[in-house]
Amino acid sequence: MKLLIISIFAGAALLFVVQTNIHAATVTVFAAVSLTDSLKQIAADYEKTSGDKIVFNFAASGTLARQIEAGAPADIFFAADESKTDALEKKGLLASGTRKSLLGNMLVIVTTPDAVAVHVPADLTNAAIQHIALGDVKIVPAGTYAKVYLEKIGVWPAVESKVVPCVSVRAVLAAVESGNVDAGFVYKTDAAISKKVKVAFEVPAADAPNISYPLALLKDAPQPDAAKNFMAFLDSETATAVFKQFGFIVLSSAPAK
Amino acid sequence: MNNEIITATFRKQFPGGAEIVVENVCIGGGITVLFGASGSGKTTVLRCLAGLETPDEGEIKFGGEVWFRKSGKRKAKGEDIFLPPRKRGIGFVPQDYALFPHLTVAGNVCYGLNELPAAERAARVLETLNWLGLDGLEHRLPRELSGGQQQRVALARAVVRRPKLLLLDEPLAALDTPTRLRLRGELRQLLRQLGLPTILVTHDRFEALALGDDVVVLHDGRNVQQGAVPEVFSRPVNLAVAEITAVETIQSGQILETRDGLATVAVGDARLIALAGDLPPAAREVYVCIRAEDVILMRADSVQSSPRNRLAATVLALVREGSLVRVNLDCGFPLTALLTQPACEELALQEGTQLVALVKAPQIHLIPFTR
């Protein structure tokens, strides 16, 4: 009986420590949640050819940055805005010279088909609109972008009290889908994924803040070489095609708008 | 005193097999004692009358009002009646008084007077406390009172509402012996002054004799005899009742002869003359019941006296019980007498003393054997 208990504990401890895949490398990517579907597809293709394994942690860029600062083991940081990556760079957590702004995106207002109609941002001031979901401006780039935009067009003071902060841009999408909020700000790429919401208004690129997705290798990356390979793949034509397919703007190829 | 106020017939089953079957119990005004040994079901019967417990089937009526009716048959379900305790207009005093521990004496007593205006309530409470000698205790809490005081507060609480019926469960049992004896007399006076129909449960024979006008004897959950107290206690209808009412001498005897309404009974080596009464003509074997109080002891043999039965007796033992002495005699059969201490000393009784025991014929009760 004692032997049985000891072997169970030993086995559990071993599982804790031993890597599952011993010959190939595992690359850990901390990426903005709006990249979820596209990156998963790209990674699936990459794993077939390279033999490496890609593990993702999708969350709001701010959340990820905090985790990295706290020492979470990650190889790559793929954020949805420059400020989050800037913060890490200031703290010396990035591998120098590896940073590159890869993608852009468009901001949209989404609603559910049965909700109050919104045609222009000013409609958000309508009394019938009671809750507007925005990413929490402290940690979600999409929320910050939306706030900056609303301030720019002078609508922010009127709608500020209606804002429901959400932990990520996907949480905003979910809130709108559930019907518990009347409208929300997400990326065009997120709206495209969802079948339950419709795009009520697309923020013109001229008025929108500059949306940019920086990709960087972390200084303390456990698997720097394998990570660099994957980063190179993300910049390749195959990957770019997938990004475009999901609706992202690929910065390196598209002219700056 | 014989106008029937309560009629009750019901049965109640308990898990474990015990059962209470009450048939045609009729209780009049005045003080009725529910009498029986511990476990005979007296308290349960009382609680059923109060509405604190529900029989499985039967009927309980008070005056013309049906307090409880339940038929065992499913068909008659619609006619089932249960009047809750609060609508029966009763005053209930349980054995441990159940005074509300978080209320003062005044709070306890006025609890039942909610429907009266405040001024009248206060007056009634004071009046009742006064009558029971509880002045000055209005603001005490129950735990600060003596046993006797608690009993009176419980009584005050029950009677302040001028109930139609007063129910007392072993009112003196929670008190120590000297208090109990002292309060017995007081209680009797109080109850007589109140003049309410009262049902009182006790297992103590002397309490029943002291307090009750009528008695209902319960044995094993069944009512076996009811009637006026002196009647039931001197004429138990069967052996069970005789044993419950604790008739001291119960011996088996044989009827030798019956003539002119008198029966000659052979008991042990002695011959007794008793009233034939309602003995069935063919009765042969009987139990002979003689209460110890009915035995007179004398020294001199030659004095003529009225009792038909003069027996030569030898003292076997003397048992002191407070101010009384129980004298166990051999008269040809074991006979027990009850004497006062002074009487015992006057007769200079001790083991072995020879004397005469006298028992009046009417005080010998014959119970035919029940086979």
Binding site: G62, T63, R66, E69, Q130, H131, D136, K138, I139, V163, V164, P165, C166, V167, S178, G179, N180, V181 | A50, G51, L52, P84, P85, R86, R88, I90, G91, F92, P94, D96, A98, F100, P101, H102, Y111, G112, N114, E115, R157, A158, R161
Partner: protein, 221 residues
């Protein structure tokens, strides 16, 4: 502590007190039923009432979200008839706090009622008291300590509630952000000093509430 932090504490306290207004009547009724009555399916009710104690709070939050969301059975009725929203408003906070603290209260109150000897209630009935009067003048006063202890426990639990609250009320500063939610968000945003300050306040209140509650329970009768 800053003004905003005090406001946050004030808001949390107000929400916890408001949740007590829901918990007390429902909890007293449930506790009394469970203590005094027996019926088929009583075990099911007992289990349901105890569930929020054992389930992950987020699961309770999920259930509440389904019920009170604009598309849910209760939420849609409220939205359509009264134009009243629950999710993402202070009402959701109160409901979440109440749902999570109810089991604690019911357990304590039930035990307190079970310890009140029925003989007092029965006697009160013979004196003409109806069931409501018996409850308020006899049962409840005699169960006072246990019920009070339960109330304090429920209050402390409500103040510390996180999982269900964040699911159904979100984190809207000034409107639904409670103390625990604010602590979580502060950690998320790297505002460590702020987080520790709030955590300290939270700990002090919880300690006080549980301390008094335990004392009450110990000195029963």
């Amino acid at each position: 502590m800053s003004g905003a932090e005090w406001q946050l504490v004030g808001f949390s306290l107000r929400m916890a007190l408001a949740s007590l207004l829901l918990v007390l009547p429902v909890g007293l009724a449930l506790a009394w039923w469970l203590a005094r009555k027996h019926w088929r399916g009583k075990a099911v009710v007992e289990t349901l009432v105890s569930l929020p104690l054992v389930l992950p709070p987020v699961v309770t939050g999920l259930v509440l979200l389904q019920l009170f969301g604009r598309r849910g059975p209760v939420g849609s009725w409220l939205h359509n008839i009264f134009n009243c929203d629950v999710v993402f408003t202070w009402r959701a906070v109160v409901i979440a706090l109440a749902a999570m603290s109810l089991p604690l209260f019911v357990r304590a109150a039930r035990t307190a009622f079970e310890e009140v000897d029925v003989k007092f209630e029965q006697l009160a009935r013979t004196l003409g008291a109806g069931e409501w009067r018996v409850f308020f003048t006899i049962t409840l006063p005699l169960a006072k300590r246990g019920v009070l202890a339960g109330t304090l426990l429920a209050f402390a639990r409500a103040l510390g509630e996180f999982g269900a609250t964040i699911m159904v009320a979100g984190n809207i500063p000034g409107r639904t952000t409670t103390l625990p939610v604010a602590i979580y968000a502060a950690v998320q945003n790297g505002e460590d000093a702020h987080a520790w300050t709030l955590a300290g306040v939270s700990a002090v209140i919880a300690f006080a509430a549980v301390f008094v509650s335990e004392n009450l329970l110990r000195r029963r009768k």
